[in-house]
Symmetry: C2
Subunit: 81 residues, 2 copies
């Protein structure tokens, strides 16, 4: 089973990397960009075949390692291989 995890900064947390991208886009002449936020995207290939067990594993991964719950949110989708 494959998990696609998106980790994003919470609203209100400064995102200098996103601002840098926004400035670079504007320097390239791409206009109409109101805001850019950069996050992380992680694909995890799980041996687990049961959806409930996979969900529990991914939740644990996100809480214990991947996301810093003080400043980051996470979301994920599971997909059968």
């Amino acid at each position: 089973m494959k998990a696609r995890i998106r980790i994003t900064l919470k609203n209100g947390v400064l995102d200098p990397q996103g601002k840098a991208i926004q400035n670079a886009l504007s320097a390239l002449g791409i206009t109409g960009v109101a805001d850019v936020r950069q996050g992380k995207y992680i694909e995890v290939e799980l041996a687990e075949t049961s959806e409930d067990a996979a969900k529990a594993t991914v939740e644990r991964m996100c809480k214990d390692l991947l996301a810093n719950s003080v400043i980051e949110n996470y979301a994920y989708e599971l997909q059968r291989a």
Copy 2:
């Protein structure tokens, strides 16, 4: 309109960051992880309201700045605000 862009390494491109995550998960006692690949996730808020125009803008962003087409793939979804 909001674009959610995922940038991932192409198959065959080494991903040491993903490997580091995989090792850390195993050190935490989370087993059954066959593979981990890390990518980037970027949310862009566009002033554009037409879907076709937004698509063209996002394609241009990805090709010109966000993704390195030699080693990375990109995918995105558009969502009305």
